[in-house]
């Protein structure tokens, strides 16, 4: 209950802060999920992807 009212006072009471929280939360969540799932995918497929074999073919600049 205490926690809820704290959140209410801080965020949900005013529309401005709530929208800001929603937008920032969306950006943070999306970035986090993107990074986590890409890390899982790249780790699972290590050695097969283009990034893993690229160094054989890129000529030195």
């Amino acid at each position: 209950m205490i926690k809820r009212s704290f959140l209410y006072q801080l965020i949900f009471k005013r529309t401005g802060t709530m929208v800001l929280t929603a937008v920032l939360g969306g950006i943070i969540l999306e970035t986090a999920i993107d990074n986590i799932s890409e890390a899982i995918f790249f780790k699972y497929n290590k050695g097969k992807l283009w990034d893993d074999i690229k160094h054989n073919y890129v000529k030195d600049v």
Partner: protein, 322 residues
């Protein structure tokens, strides 16, 4: 010709639907599972009698709604059973005897990209493109793949520029100042040029049989990668052709091909090309690589799709109480 194309089109769509169907089913099952677990846990905690909050007991509230909860529960059960039953029926239809025709069905091979989260083996795509370029492209077009799509998939941009420029004779452009069409070296923005200008020319050059376009061939054939692999390796020597089968001039016996008589000559032999990464170019290696390449051509978005599956599952699993 229209009918054949239409049949191929329907076949492609069907395969696409079924390959995505399994992923969709997995997601639905996962969703219901999470929902059931969360509801179960929530119930245990909420319905426990705690003496300190007698007046605010949640079980007080839920007593009245008990029947509603039961109705809801049975609704979820019904939905679950309906979804499960429908998927079982579709799976059974897909996996039925398939006795409508007489080709030999290919065995299921363990492809490096066939798992739920498996990406393509990009070294194999690279080798497969060389096989296509040096062998298949003599007769088969690859109409839907531009050179640029291979950049950062199997080739660097500089390599792709050189490769595209080698396709000089086939790319027509124009008109120039004199109003004439002219030939020019290929660019990375060009689509891979077809070997024949039209189907009639292709038929005339190949004894009346039109070599199909390979862009979507892996999705467009029953058995997908397994079929292409088995078919390319499944040519039978003249001595081993079953008794009673008549093979006309220029045709070949291949038990995996519908009708068993195929106009294409066996295209791949040991060491028909040389790989730049030193892989021994045996026939099965060449076939495996070109099938991986063609599979990539059919669904270049596959890796993105599998990445999105992970994202989707994380999002559903973390989205809390449904």
């Amino acid at each position: 010709m229209f009918l054949v194309n239409f049949k191929q089109f329907v076949e492609q769509k069907r395969t696409i639907i079924f390959s995505n169907f399994s992923v969709l089913f997995l997601c639905t099952a996962d969703f219901f599972l999470i929902m059931a677990v969360v509801r179960k846990l929530g119930n245990i905690k909420l319905l426990k009698c705690r003496p300190s909050f007698i007046s605010l007991q949640v079980c007080h509230f839920s007593n009245g709604a008990g029947t509603r909860w039961n109705i809801k529960k049975s609704m979820y059960t019904t939905i679950g059973l309906a979804v499960g039953g429908a998927s079982a029926l579709l799976y059974a239809l897909e996996q039925s005897v398939k006795a409508y025709d007489w080709p030999l069905h290919p065995p299921a091979y363990n492809w490096s990209h066939s798992g739920v989260l498996d990406a393509y083996d990009h070294a194999s795509i690279r080798r497969g493109f060389y096989v296509y370029k040096n062998v298949c492209s003599a007769c088969h077009s690859l109409d839907f793949i531009p050179f640029r799509r291979l950049i950062d998939v199997a080739f660097t941009e500089d390599e792709m520029r050189e490769i595209a420029a080698e396709f000089q004779v086939c790319i027509q452009d124009g008109p120039n100042e004199d109003g004439e069409m002219f030939m020019r070296p290929g660019k990375v923005s060009d689509y891979i040029p077809p070997p024949y200008p039209n189907e009639e020319a292709a038929a005339a050059a190949n004894n009346g049989a039109v070599p199909p376009d390979l862009s979507l061939i892996v999705l467009g054939r029953e058995g997908n990668e397994d079929y292409i692999f088995s078919m390319l390796n499944g040519y039978t020597d003249a001595d081993d052709i079953p008794a009673g089968v008549e093979i006309s001039e220029g045709a070949h016996y291949n038990p995996y091909f519908t009708g068993s008589v195929i106009a294409m000559a066996p295209p791949l032999y040991n060491n028909v090309i040389e790989y730049d990464d030193g892989t021994p170019a045996t026939r099965s290696q060449l076939t495996k690589d070109v099938v991986t390449f063609l599979s990539w051509c059919s669904q270049p978005e596959m890796e993105k799709r599998k990445l999105w599956l992970i994202k989707f599952l994380i999002l559903i699993d973390t989205s809390g109480h449904p």
